[in-house]
């Protein structure tokens, strides 16, 4: 379901991207330290889950490349839904599906099962937006993609903590 593999000597598609500043660690509030008070899952918490995902072709995070932004994350804790829009760095980015898949896998691994996760491209930012969105929404395709050990390897690399 995904185009060519990254690295391997092929030239980078977008060799010199504009780099954005990382937001700092979320400050811990007094309320969060209180044993009794519940903290609901909010946009920032979801954003924190995905902002440190590594880009498949740059040594940078999705946040630094502005592929994900907090304003494009919507969560409803009560209704158990999450919607994430991501913006490929260039409209023909062949990594778009891979990036979407990484975000989706990260959210599936990190959120309670009750959540319905919707990951799609920010409207109007990619040439084959519709096709990519369709693939990301298709549960069976996502599952099949993760059976593919080569693909799983790339996704895992994106999700590994940066050393």
């Amino acid at each position: 379901m995904v185009g060519p593999a990254p690295g391997g000597g092929s030239p980078l598609e977008n060799a010199n991207p504009l780099i954005y500043r990382r937001s700092g660690e979320r400050p811990v509030t007094a309320r969060e330290k209180d044993d009794e008070l519940p903290d609901s899952i909010d946009d920032r918490e979801i954003f924190d889950l995905i902002r440190s995902i590594n880009d498949p072709e740059h040594p940078l995070t999705l946040e630094e490349l502005n592929v994900v932004e907090q304003v494009r994350v919507k969560v409803n804790d009560a209704e158990s839904t999450v919607v994430v829009e991501f913006t490929p760095t260039i409209p023909h980015c062949s990594m778009a599906t891979l990036i979407g898949l990484s975000i989706k896998v990260k959210l599936i691994r990190s959120l309670p099962e009750r959540f319905k996760v919707d990951v799609h491209i920010t409207p109007g930012t990619h040439a084959s937006e519709h096709a990519v969105n369709k693939q990301l929404a298709d549960k069976e395709r996502v599952a099949a993609a993760l059976e593919n050990s080569h693909l799983l390897e790339v996704v895992n690399q994106c999700l590994s903590a940066r050393s």
Partner: protein
């Protein structure tokens, strides 16, 4: 044995026998015995040569080789005993042997190596040996070991016969070039590189062979050696890189060959080659001059620029910037003759030309790389900084005004900040010539506009830039200083964002020592007014935060003696007003005042004068306010009571402590002679306000002294912080009073303060009979108190603090006291408190008995306590009844928690089973400390821990649903740490762990969810491709 042999046939006979044994190949050990004979004087070298006789002339080369080998091995051991004449003969003999069969050569070289170590070598022989080797031996066809011998001979001669070798002229250089040409072994290369480096640095004649010498070494550049696995020689790639770089960057003579090579390798695709080239270039810049660089500057610059503009790795970028910095520094340093052009100027012009326009492009894509290049060059020297700053700063200011968006403005301002910081490096040299002088007005207006911008990020950069600008001499005119102070004051008081407010306070602290007048006149006054005026506007919700900000700012700005004298009275006034009831008085407000006072105290410690001013102003005032309050309490005034609350007194303790710890001994003695009589005899005359309604007698019995007694906490803060050499008047009386109070007072706060004060003094008490008597009395009182009665807790507190005081100074009595504590762990009533007490023993206490208050603390006391007591704790645990077992575990947990990790890891095997048992203990403290103990062990000793993986997984997962958040978090961190165990041991548990961690993903606390996400993510990656 030697003697027996000699006895039978005479010494000669034995020698001949051993020589035969060796040469025939029967016994290699005979060489050592022959050498021992020489050392013992049984025979001479000459006799050995005679004994070898025929076999050195044997027609079979193997036999000749064996004979020479014996002689060489003996020489290796006995070279220091040879006479000059013997050496000469041997050298000539060996030189001659170099022409022999190739099988013989290794032994010959060994012999020459031994002779090269002789101090009595006659002049001329060294040269003749080397000539013979250069002429007769084709070194590179020898095995590695023999090549190494040749290098060692050369090294030896270079060390001892430098003058003779130099007499050989360029022939020596040429000879060596031939020796090392084609060398492949890393061990030999390290030696060979060292020789080349010495050749160059010691000034041997290179003559026409510079290029050859360069060729024969540079062919290894860049080093791509990868050490074989299990290499016993431990030569790392880095060793070769460093030693080759030392050769290449050792002389400007190589420049014309080296620079093109470096440029070529920088342009290669390999990152390691790039890095090595950049670092070597950097090394060269320290010895080159502009003559060497001139021809290559354009290509060097274009390569460096490319590496930064198209950066693929931060490391390459950093090295490229460092190399550029080096180049500019080198050009700045070069001494010019009258007819040469200053290359620095044209070099910088080129850089500016290539980078400046990127700073103006609207998409701002290459602004950062360009700014970094410019800053790297500008940081090289004052001249370079001047040239670049005067060109770039006006441009950046213009850009700032052209870009309206605050995110873009922030980027521009961050770059500006970088240039300002560079200016700081040179700024103090030439005030007149500062490149910023002509941009000063627009610069200030840009920075002021940043401070009023709604974007917090922009404000923050603006504040930092103003701070830097303020530290540069002559760049802020007096009206600008006033504006800066006003802006900072506004931000401190009214900024919506606390980050801006904090940054403004920090800036005020840095700038205040430079412009003290402006800060006292404008900021301190304004803050003081604000503190006064807010009384009228009470009821506003922000009052408290505004008050808190004023207090913090007053402390932050107190970084100059002149300012301290203004701020301290304001802060003290806040305290003095509390009992009068005309300020909003809550305990936390008073605590905030105390915290500010403490911060000022810490800032005053650096300066002796401020320190004394602070001490003599604040300590009497605090005591007076507290004494006053303690007397008012008799009249049941609730406001007076506020000052005696535990929270407030605890906040006053560090003020007094910080104000007293750094006094010089004379002044401290003066002060102590006032404070101790105050407590012992009610001498109030030194307090600023000396009319009190009743006498101050905290140690006397009598009615209503309970409140007065609480002030013992302040006494403790004072006397326990004094340097050891300050005598305390009436110390023994004071100690007796404290001891009595600590055992008899029913208020735990007072009793503990007295116990701590007693312990603090005991810790510094000089050893001897008096101390022993004092301790004996104390122990008797404790034992009586612990036995029974209502004051057992107080007696325990005293026991704990005295034990700590003695454990810290390794006093012999400490073991008796710790045994007592260990015994009390089994006490049904006191046991849990004793267990918690172990944390008190091991941790640094904040107010007494730490290094800051000059306590006698031995560095290894924790390890020592551990070794002495943990076996007893373990034993006690096994022997204890079920009701009190947890106490032992808790005590153990506290000890382990404070132990340095390396010690803990080595002790692990004996304790692990107990720790695993502790995981099942229902006590929260035990669970938490056991988890925090196990977590680092999982990371540091994975193999030991993996034996228990089954128990660990089960227990950790169980604890992830503990009711306490801290335990859930710690348990999840342990589950995460489990992933560092060997993967095969973990894989069977992977599905189970992943399933179990789904639950904490939905925990009600965000901090728990965060840990669960990290742990689960890592478990997913286990054994999966791409990890």
């Amino acid at each position: 044995m030697a003697a027996a042999g000699a006895g039978a046939e005479g010494p000669g006979g034995a020698l001949r026998g051993w020589v035969r044994d060796f040469v025939s190949g029967l016994q290699d050990g005979r060489a050592a015995e022959v050498a021992a004979g020489v050392k013992a004087g049984s025979w001479t070298i000459l006799e050995i040569v005679e004994a070898l006789g025929s076999c050195l002339e044997n027609t079979e080369p193997r036999t000749r080789g064996r004979g020479l080998q014996l002689l060489s091995q003996v020489l290796l051991q006995c070279h220091s005993m040879l006479q000059e004449e013997e050496v000469t003969h041997l050298v000539l003999f060996y030189e001659n042997r170099l022409k022999d069969h190739h099988l013989v050569i290794p032994a010959v070289l060994q012999g020459l190596y031994a002779l090269s170590m002789c101090e009595v070598l006659a002049p001329g022989l060294a040269v003749s040996v080397l000539k013979a080797i250069f002429q007769e031996v084709h070194v590179q066809s020898l095995p590695q070991l023999d090549r190494h011998t040749v290098y060692s001979i050369i090294t030896n001669f270079m060390r001892t016969r430098e003058e003779e070798l130099k007499g050989l002229g360029a022939d020596f250089t040429f000879g060596f070039i031939q020796v090392m040409d084609g060398e492949k072994d890393p061990r030999n290369l390290l030696v060979a590189f060292q020789i080349v480096r010495d050749l160059i640095l010691e000034g041997y004649v290179l003559g026409p062979f510079v290029e050859e010498l360069f060729e024969v070494t540079s062919c290894y550049f860049p080093i791509d050696f990868i050490p074989p696995p299990n290499d016993p020689h431990c030569i790392q790639r880095e060793d070769l890189i460093v030693s080759l770089r030392a050769v290449l960057a050792s002389t400007p003579q190589f420049a014309e060959f080296l620079l093109p090579l470096l440029i070529e390798k920088m342009d290669s695709e390999m990152q390691s080659a790039k890095l090595d080239s950049l670092q070597t270039l950097g090394a060269c810049c320290t010895i080159y001059g502009q003559k060497e660089l001139q021809e290559f500057l354009p290509s060097l610059w274009s390569s460096l620029r490319r590496e930064v503009f198209q950066t693929a790795s931060e490391k390459v970028e950093a090295e490229a910037l460092a190399a550029l910095h080096g180049l500019a520094a080198c050009l700045s340093r070069s001494v010019l003759s009258s007819d040469t052009e200053d290359l620095l100027d044209s070099f910088l012009t080129g850089i500016l030309q290539d980078c400046r326009h990127h700073l103006c492009e609207p998409d701002m894509k290459l602004v950062w790389p360009s700014a970094k290049l410019l800053q790297a060059a500008a940081g090289a020297s004052f001249r370079a900084g001047h040239r670049i700053t005067s060109s770039v700063v006006p441009l950046l200011l213009e850009q700032y005004n052209q870009h309206p968006q605050s995110s873009q403005r922030r980027t521009i301002l961050e770059m500006l900040l970088g240039f300002l910081e560079l200016q700081q490096k040179w700024g103090h040299e030439d005030e007149e010539e500062s490149a910023l002088l002509c941009s000063q007005a627009p610069l200030c207006s840009v920075l002021f506009s940043a401070l009023t911008d709604p974007s917090v990020q922009l404000q923050l950069v603006g504040i930092r830039a103003l701070t830097v600008l303020g530290t540069l001499p002559g760049l802020l005119a007096p009206p600008d200083v006033q504006l800066v102070v006003d802006h900072l004051t506004r931000l401190i008081l009214h900024a919506d964002d606390s980050q801006s407010c904090m940054a403004a306070m920090e800036a005020a602290g840095s700038l205040a020592p430079i412009y003290p007048g402006a800060f006292t006149g404008r900021m301190v006054q304004r803050l003081a007014e604000e503190l006064q005026s807010e009384r009228e506007e009470e009821g506003r919700r922000s009052t408290h935060s505004l008050r808190a900000r004023c207090l913090q700012a007053l402390a932050a700005v107190s970084t100059h003696p002149g300012i301290v004298q203004e701020t301290v009275p304001v802060l003290l006034q806040c305290l003095q007003q509390v009992p009068k009831g005309n300020v909003p008085a809550r305990a936390c407000d008073v605590v905030a005042v105390c915290q500010s006072l403490q911060r000022v105290a810490v800032q005053c410690q650096r300066d002796a004068e401020s320190c004394w001013y602070y001490h003599q102003t604040v300590v009497p005032c605090l005591l007076a306010v507290a004494v006053q309050a303690a007397m008012q309490e008799n009249a049941h005034s609730p406001l007076g009571k506020l000052l005696l609350e535990e929270k407030v007194l605890t906040a006053m303790v560090p003020i007094v402590s910080a104000a007293s710890a750094h006094l010089c001994p004379e002044l401290a003695a003066q002060s102590v002679s006032q404070v101790v009589p105050l407590f012992l005899d009610g001498e109030v005359s030194f307090l600023p306000q000396d009319s009190f309604p009743c006498p101050f007698q905290p140690f006397q019995g009598g009615q209503h002294v309970a409140a007065q007694r609480r002030l013992v906490a302040l006494l403790m803060a004072f006397v326990c912080s004094l340097p050891k050499n300050v005598p305390i008047p009436q110390q023994d009386r004071l100690l007796q009073e404290l001891l009595a109070l600590s055992c008899s007072c029913d208020c735990p706060f007072t009793a503990t303060a007295a116990a701590k004060c007693f312990a603090g003094l005991v810790n510094k008490y000089p050893p001897g009979q008096q101390l022993d008597q004092l301790l004996e009395t104390a122990v008797n009182r404790m034992e009586a108190g612990l036995a029974e009665g209502p004051l057992r807790t107080q007696a325990l507190a005293l026991l704990l603090w005295v034990t700590k005081a003695l454990v810290l100074r390794y006093h012999p009595l400490s073991s008796r006291l710790t045994d007592k504590l260990l015994g009390l762990l089994g006490d049904a009533e006191l046991g849990p408190a004793v267990a918690d007490g172990f944390s008190l023993l091991m941790a640094d206490s904040p107010d007494v008995l730490h290094k800051g208050c000059h306590a006698d603390v031995r560095i290894m006391f924790r390890q020592r306590f551990f070794t002495d007591n943990v076996p007893k704790l373990v034993q006690g645990f096994h022997a204890a009844g079920p009701g009190v077992k947890a106490n032992y575990l808790k005590g153990l947990s506290h000890v382990l928690n404070h132990l340095p990790r390396p010690v803990l890891v080595t002790e692990l095997p004996t304790l692990l089973s107990l720790l695993l048992e502790a995981l099942s203990c229902p006590d929260c403290v035990v669970q938490l400390s056991t988890l925090s103990c196990l977590q680092p062990l999982l990371l540091e000793a994975p193999h030991v821990m993996s034996l228990h993986v089954d128990t660990l997984v089960t227990k950790f997962l169980g604890l992830t649903s503990s009711p306490a958040m801290a335990i859930r978090i710690a348990a999840l961190q342990c589950v995460h740490a489990l992933t560092s165990l060997p993967i095969p041991a973990l894989l069977p548990y992977k599905p189970r762990v992943i399933r179990a961690l789904a639950k904490p993903l939905d925990d009600m606390k965000r901090l728990v969810r965060k840990e669960a996400v990290v742990a689960r993510g890592e478990w997913f990656l286990l054994g999966s491709p791409g990890r």
